[in-house]
Amino acid sequence: MSTHSNHPFHLVDYSPWPLTGAIGAMTTVSGMVKWFHQYDISLFFLGNIITILTVYQWWRDVSRESTYQGLHTYAVTIGLRWGMILFILSEVLFFVSFFWAFFHSSLSPAIELGASWPPLGIISFNPFQIPLLNTAILLASGVTVTWAHHSLMESNHSQTTQGLFFTVLLGIYFTILQAYEYIEAPFTIADSVYGSTFYMATGFHGVHVLIGTTFLLVCLLRHLNNHFSKNHHFGFEAAAWYWHFVDVVWLFLYITIYWWGG
């Protein structure tokens, strides 16, 4: 395909990824139903493989179109920015629904729970131990990602690498600590609406940390392959926006569910 045109817009080529993505999503959802009803995780696992293969190849194509074919003009990046802003807004509303469920259940606890929160028998986490450490970790990762961004804007290749490396490392450290908390937890998702709202909110946040860490790791690998320049690096900025969003969600989780609600 010719990359020359008399307009700034990116007219995309035919691609199989929307179709394989739809198949992956459908398989994942069907796999969850099978998992929850028949305790068989294999179809869910297959759906995840199809989805991961799809996103890997789709975004590989996007990187090629941008970095190697130069199809992401200024006009195109404005569209990408709006896309990311609206996506994060939808994510905000996604988490609002979990906070809504939490406050609905905790502000006026049902009499079946003894009208108290946390309900009798729930031993909640001490918010000043691992959760506070996790708060510090995510705040620190917000600093390191800004360090990487400013280094990138000053064409400082090695410091960008360092900043991104430590951001990814802090993301992994957070995930390890959360996994440890889950393993050691004295209550489960089946322990009253406390467990339900706790694991629904913190679990989806954890998934977002995993995705955000992967996004930043991809940025690090692309940076090591010199994909970014000082004035053309929206992939990195999108990852940073997403990471800050995940960070802010954690602050709300920490203050409301761990601290106030514990």
Binding site: S108, I111, G114, A115, L120
Partner: protein
């Protein structure tokens, strides 16, 4: 003929809603907490009993009594 004075629980501004589940439940807890703190012969506790007996369905009270006996009552008394 003696004149009976019919009484029910008074309006409590903590529970302004038509649904008085929480008025009933809080009074049940208050009665037992009051007895625990002041002893079973402390007459003012009976006020709470009067309230919950008029606000609560009998089946609920029976269930909660059973729960207290078996140590599974979730309220903090």
């Amino acid at each position: 003929m003696s004149a009976y004075k019919l009484e029910t629980a008074p309006f409590d501004p903590r529970f302004p809603n038509q649904n008085v589940t929480r008025y009933c439940y809080q009074s049940y807890i208050d009665f037992h907490r009051c007895q625990k703190k002041r002893g079973e012969d402390f007459a003012p506790c009976n006020y709470f009993q009067k309230v919950y007996k008029s606000m609560c369905p009998n089946a609920w009270v029976e269930k909660w009594d059973d729960q207290r006996e078996s140590g599974t009552f979730p309220g903090r008394i």
